[in-house]
């Protein structure tokens, strides 16, 4: 089986087959993420196409130490979708994290992929179990593209409350990973 990282290497070498492989593997997920943010099928199609094309053109910049291909792709799609909802053209927000934060995971073999899939299942379950106000806070930020100040206004709660809810939610989600990613070598 060709790993995601190998597919990105093929893309960086200019191979359309690598692109085909990546799209067949994650096209449905990318489309779902765009649809979730944009709520418009036509706009979601445009964004997913743009996102995959940006990966096609910039695969050489992919850094495995920043996280898996799936997360990278989802982040690109999510950020471009948010930019689209705000009427911003091009890449106006960081598609990479703050440069000072350490890498969360660096492994890329099949076993790690399996573990990551289990983690996603755990996080999905944990998200559903979060108190409603914490879940709404996370969803407004992640899928709604709202800053904490905007969430504070929208939910009519103090900014400090929004920050506290976000931290609590992230602590819970982190807890379901059982510290696995903390112990990975950077």
């Amino acid at each position: 089986m060709i790993t995601d990282e190998r597919a990105v290497e093929l893309i960086a070498q200019g191979s359309p087959e690598g692109m085909e492989l990546l799209y067949d593997r994650y096209g449905s997920l990318a489309y779902a993420v765009a649809l979730r943010v944009l709520r418009d099928a036509s706009a979601a199609e445009d964004v997913v196409q743009e996102a995959f094309l940006s990966i096609w053109r910039g695969a050489a910049t992919y850094r495995p130490d920043r996280g898996g291909v799936r997360s990278w792709l989802c982040t690109v799609v999510r950020n471009r979708s948010i930019d689209r909802t705000r009427g911003r053209a091009g890449r106006s927000r960081d598609e990479l994290p703050l440069e000072h934060v350490a890498a969360g995971t660096s492994s890329s073999d099949t076993w790690t992929e399996v573990v990551a899939e289990l983690d996603r299942e755990h996080i999905r379950g944990a998200l559903e179990r979060l108190p409603a106000e914490q879940r709404t806070t996370i969803e407004l930020a992640y899928f709604g593209g709202c800053s904490q100040s905007e969430i504070s206004t929208r939910m009519r709660v103090p900014l400090g409350t929004v920050k506290g809810r976000t931290r609590l939610a992230l602590r819970t989600l982190r807890g379901v990973l059982g510290g696995w990613c903390v112990e990975q070598p950077a």
């Binding site: 997920l29 997913v48 196409q49 094309l53 982040t75 799609v77 890498a103």
Partner: protein
Amino acid sequence: MTCDESELLLAAHAVGGLDPGEEGGLRLHLEGCQDCRQLGGVLLHVGTMIAGTVTPVTPPPSLRRNLMARVEAEARARSFAAVPQRSPRWHRRLWSRVPSGRRFTAAGGLAAAAAGLLAAWSAAGPHPAGAVAIRVPTCGSAGVPATRCILDYDPDRHQAVLTATGLTLPAVLGGASAQAYEVWLIPAGGAPMPAAFLAQGPDGGSWSSVISRSLHGCAAIAVTAEPAGGSLAPTGPEVLRVPLPPGI
């Protein structure tokens, strides 16, 4: 900033909700705090996994088709561009020295006559290996007069790259994803044959296509706006026509 305050901001950053005004302070703190850098990486990892919890939705087949058409067109354009262009044959270089925009001078007339004779001599025999690429610049068309295009053709490789600017598909047709620019080969006295699609370049202003077949016997190349996925015969407005030199 304390580590406790830093954690609040790192959590916000992990889900994309950090207020822009708070980024500077967080960066400063992270520069001097290894623990928070480590925590930031972990939270970011958790944050990116949130997108992966969405239930996949099958996209329309046109998305894959359009995406791969553009990817393949760009891949071919890259490989074509990587082929070093040979210098023009000497009779073409001679022809290029004819003064342009002025009346033929005696020297220009002689050069033209020599070029014509040599071209006829060259056409009488088979093309040698590595024949020169042919460049056909064109401007204007009935549908979109502002269009400019260049066709580069290598008769030995049977490969052509058509690059156009000034096309206004979204503005004209109201949606890039609903329509596509289809490229047609027009044989002398024959019906148009579908050849390729134009793909929009990264700059957004240029469109290009690779045509991997011989243009021998073709009188022109045309581009029409068609429904996404293309048509078997032209149905939309013609936006570009490139007349080909005889004997190409």
